[in-house]
């Protein structure tokens, strides 16, 4: 079964003067456990596509199904709950909360989830921080970390809620090649060992080749 299914998805951005067709008739199926990369020139709609799949944005037309369930009629509250339960996000600029320590940043998704005890949360946070190899940096603040470390914290935050899908928008875009390789290894591990589905936007052909499948985009269309 497909864990993500997009049918004739279109996205139009309207401002007062211009109308941008960011996505047009996009049909995509992604199977559970797949590691897919999305590639294409700047401005072709990769981030828009990721945001629509990640339920952060609603399509202007077409349907998005997650785990076989249509999402069009879900309220903002229901979408929030669904994101919390099933989706994880990694951003190019990390987006760690500067006022919170590594531990508190990682714990964040669990704060928006009912029914986990303080103890369970703390144990889970420790576990995922170990997983990304940052046990020795638990109490640090984001400003005290390198870019690669920040992104590893962000990945820990993305998996702490045990989501089925991880969306990563140019996760290595702000990192040097050495750190990029580390992050790619980590993502592959999460895909292979935990069976998580990963959808990643990248400009790096080599990274794309390391994934199961490349979806190529051009001007709001999918080429393959």
């Amino acid at each position: 079964m497909n864990i993500i299914e997009l049918n004739s998805v279109g996205k139009v951005y309207r401002t007062n003067t211009v109308e941008t067709l960011a996505l047009e008739n996009v049909n995509i199926q992604i199977a559970k456990g797949e590691f897919v990369s999305i590639m294409g020139p700047s401005g072709c709609g990769k981030s828009t596509l990721l945001n629509v799949m990640g339920l952060l944005d609603r399509p202007s037309s077409g349907t998005v199904e997650i785990d076989g369930k249509p999402t069009a009629n879900l309220s903002d509250k229901a979408l929030s709950a669904l994101r919390n339960a099933k989706l994880g996000f990694v951003f190019q600029s990390f987006h760690l909360i500067p006022s919170l320590s590594v531990t508190d940043n990682v714990e964040l998704p669990l704060m928006y989830r009912q029914g986990t005890s303080d103890k369970e949360r703390k144990a889970r946070v420790r576990e995922v921080i170990e997983r990304v190899g940052l046990s020795h940096r638990m109490g640090h603040m984001p400003t005290q970390l390198s870019g690669g470390q920040c992104q590893r914290v962000a990945i820990a935050r993305a998996i702490v809620g045990n989501p089925e899908i991880i969306f990563a928008d140019e996760p290595t875009g702000n990192l040097d090649s050495h750190m990029s390789a580390e992050i790619m290894d980590l993502l592959k591990k999460l895909n292979k060992e935990d069976g998580r589905t990963i959808v990643m936007v990248t400009h790096n052909e080599l990274q794309g080749k390391e994934t199961d499948r490349i979806i190529r985009m051009f001007d709001g269309h999918c080429l393959s």
Partner: protein, 429 residues
């Protein structure tokens, strides 16, 4: 979560110290002003020794009559005489004890032999006065009915009066003679210095109303006394009022021959009405007083809130990305609003506590200025503020409640707006 709120608040304040300081000071000032208004308002009705029974005390204060003749608009009003006080308020059902006394303080010369005279506040009362009000005797005793009936020339002084006039201890004062308005009187009791905020009971010199003296200036119903009475447990204000209204009807009947009739002004008054009683020929308007205070409080909160709202708005601008992340990870809009309000409440509460402390310390140290003119228009005597006037649960509750309202007013709209930002837009930052 709670610890995150604190961490984020502190971080935010450190990052924008000027904004934080302005917010804190603004809040402190708003709560300071608000609590000052509250305290000044509160002392009018809260129990204050020697008016500890304010919640069950009633006052028959004035007499007002008009002519019944056509074309005659004559209007008379003043305090009561002993006769009218007794006819209107004597031995009502549901009243445990009632006292006839002069509600107005009179300045009087008091002098001990060989010493300089002092001008002090004096009050003439009956013996029940000491039961309705709980003056604390530090030496001697109050005058009782037997003393009054015997026509003894006695006086009760306050500690301060003793100090000023006799320059001795309360114990040494008992039995000494002082001239009160040229008449020699024996000191039989000394009471603790009391606060003029308890304006019905306050005094420095207390003397008995002589036996069989009507205290009247028209030899009839008008005079210089009032009535204070204590309701029994279970008695209701309405029940007492109804009886007094009936007595007014009786009085109207009795007065027919004089071609005058009394005007009923909803007496007796409870503490609130009495504190709002403006003249002897009007009915106190407690509702409009309440509204005025409410409006004042609202303005005191609203004006700083509007200013701080702009500050909050600019503070939240820096946090758009963070809100986007939280939304992506499942925080609902409502949750974002709650978190931001909670964070802001920490700041408001900190400022509010500072403001409350400031108002308490201010009221305590500057009580003569704070409560100027209340109960003592001449501002001569010390306010002697009882500590419970500023340190009580009600004040504390209202301070916290005001912080809560101030928080909603100053952060509500900014937080709401911040929560509406589209997560994709927020994350682009």
């Amino acid at each position: 979560m709670k610890s995150n709120i604190l961490k984020q608040t502190l971080y935010d304040m450190k990052r924008q110290p000027v904004t934080a300081a302005v917010t804190l000071i603004g809040t402190a000032l708003a709560i300071f002003l608000m609590m000052t208004v509250m305290m000044i308002n509160d002392v009018k009705t809260m129990p204050l020794t020697p008016e500890s029974n304010r919640d069950r005390i009633l006052y028959g204060m004035n007499m007002h009559t008009v002519s019944t003749e056509d074309g005659n608009n004559s209007n008379s009003s003043s305090r009561l005489s002993v006769k009218s006080a007794t006819e209107l308020y004597g031995d009502l059902e549901g009243i445990s004890v009632w006292s006839i006394y002069c509600d107005d303080n009179n300045n009087i010369d008091v002098q001990a032999t060989g010493k300089t005279p002092a001008v002090l506040f004096s009050r003439m009362t009956d013996d029940k006065f000491w039961q309705v009000f709980d003056h604390k005797f530090v030496a001697g005793r109050p005058y009782d009915k037997a003393t009054i009936d015997a026509g003894d020339n006695v006086v009760v002084l306050s500690e301060g009066a003793v100090r000023e006039v006799l320059e001795c201890t309360p114990e040494e004062a008992i039995g000494q003679t002082v001239k009160v308005g040229q008449k020699p009187k024996t000191v039989i009791g000394v009471v603790k210095d009391n606060t003029p905020l308890a304006s019905h009971a306050f005094g420095e010199v207390f003397m008995p109303i002589p036996k069989d003296n009507n205290m009247s200036w028209d030899d009839d119903y008008f005079g210089s006394v009032s009535v204070a009475m204590l309701m029994e447990d279970g008695a209701t204000y309405d029940q007492i009022k109804k009886q007094v209204k009936a007595r007014y009807a009786e009085l109207e009947n009795n007065m027919k021959a004089t071609n005058r009739k009394p005007v009923y002004h909803e007496q007796p008054y409870d503490q609130l009405a009495a504190s709002n009683a403006m003249g002897s020929n009007t009915t106190p308007d407690t509702e409009s007083e309440k509204k005025k205070t409410l409006m004042l409080i609202l303005i005191l909160l609203l004006v700083p809130a509007i200013n701080m709202s702009a500050l909050t708005q600019s503070r939240l601008k820096h946090r758009t990305a963070e809100i986007g992340v939280k939304r992506a990870y499942g925080a609902t809009k409502g949750r974002i609003v709650l978190e931001l309000l909670a964070e802001n409440f920490v700041v408001t509460l900190a400022g509010g506590i500072a403001g409350l402390l400031l108002s308490m310390i201010g009221a305590w140290l500057l009580s003569d200025t704070f409560f100027a003119g209340m109960g003592d228009p001449s501002n001569r005597v010390d306010i002697n503020l009882p500590i419970n006037a500023i340190l009580n649960w009600k004040i504390f509750f209202w301070a916290v409640a005001s912080c809560f309202v101030l928080n909603l007013l100053s952060a509500g709209i900014p937080a709401w707006r911040a929560s509406r930002v589209h997560p994709v837009e927020a994350l682009r930052k």
